[in-house]
């Protein structure tokens, strides 16, 4: 699992399982990480900005839109840090990929994950939106 040491912390285990599912591109496992009514908030004024409500919107409209912009097989997640306290975790990661129009994408992220009963209920993501706009969306 990405070279992270195994952890007994259930909040960290949930987050690392989610990252692992993303890395393996396992749609069932990705979906199982979320509550049906989960929300994901993305900053800025980009096509993916705002709060996505419900797992279908998160997986389809949000992650799907991002996914269309990159070559899926080129995508690499690297966990930089994971901090957890009770039902909340902060995940810091680096994403590298090749965009569908052939650019190198390399960006770091930090996001709060709020968990409920061992699944993701809310995510608030923070990243360099100017970079995302420029490289991923040609803005």
């Amino acid at each position: 699992m990405l070279g992270m040491t195994t952890t007994a912390d259930p909040t960290k285990t949930c987050i690392l399982d989610f990252v692992d599912a993303l890395q393996r591109r396992d749609p069932d496992a990705i979906r199982a990480s979320f509550h049906a009514d989960a929300t994901w908030t993305y900053p800025g004024d980009l096509p993916v900005s705002g709060t996505w409500e419900g797992v279908d919107a998160i997986l389809g409209d949000f992650l799907g839109t991002v996914g269309e912009r990159v070559d899926a097989t080129s995508r690499r997640f690297e966990v930089l840090s994971l901090t957890a306290e009770a039902d909340r975790a902060a995940l810091e990661w680096r994403l590298t990929a090749r965009t569908t129009d052939g650019q190198d994408y390399d960006n770091t992220y930090l996001a709060i994950f709020e968990l409920r009963d061992g699944r993701i209920a809310a995510v608030r993501e923070y990243t360099d939106t100017a970079y995302v706009g420029r490289v991923l969306f040609g803005l």
């Binding site: 900053p43 800025g44 930090l110 923070y126 360099d128």
Partner: protein, 134 residues
């Protein structure tokens, strides 16, 4: 360092910021602390050393704002032994009279009871458009 002390240190830092007490803010940082800001903003990159953080970074931001209008609200704080993640919103009026409101999430690495390293994440698009617009 225990999570409680890490939490206390970060809350003390927030309190000093909210009171505008620059000596207390400075006292929260190790002399060789670093602060990383992403993107291509005038403040982007690594600010190395407490003096660079307080002068180069905080000074550059404050020069863009009406200091009396600055509000700093904490959304969440997640702490472990030597690391805390602070989520906060800054609201202020810029020198040009525009309303600036932006949400931030920052990792604070703690060493010896002081902030040793910060990696801050923010909506850089908004900062560029509102805070650093010429």
């Amino acid at each position: 360092m225990t999570p409680v002390l890490t939490r206390t240190l970060i809350l003390d830092y927030v309190d000093a910021l909210q009171r505008g007490d620059s000596d207390e803010v400075a006292a929260c940082f190790a002399p060789d602390a670093t602060w990383d800001v992403p993107g291509d903003l005038p403040i982007s990159g690594r600010h190395a050393g407490r003096d660079a953080i307080l002068g180069g970074l905080v000074g550059a931001v404050m020069a863009r704002l009406d200091p009396a209008s600055l509000r700093f609200d904490v959304t969440s704080l997640t702490t472990e032994a030597d690391r805390g993640v602070l989520e906060y919103t800054i609201r202020a009026r810029t020198r040009h009279g525009r309303a600036y409101e932006n949400a931030y999430l920052a990792i604070f690495e703690v060493r010896g009871g002081l902030i040793a390293a910060v990696r801050e994440y923010l909506d850089t698009q908004r900062a560029a458009r509102v805070l650093f617009a010429t």
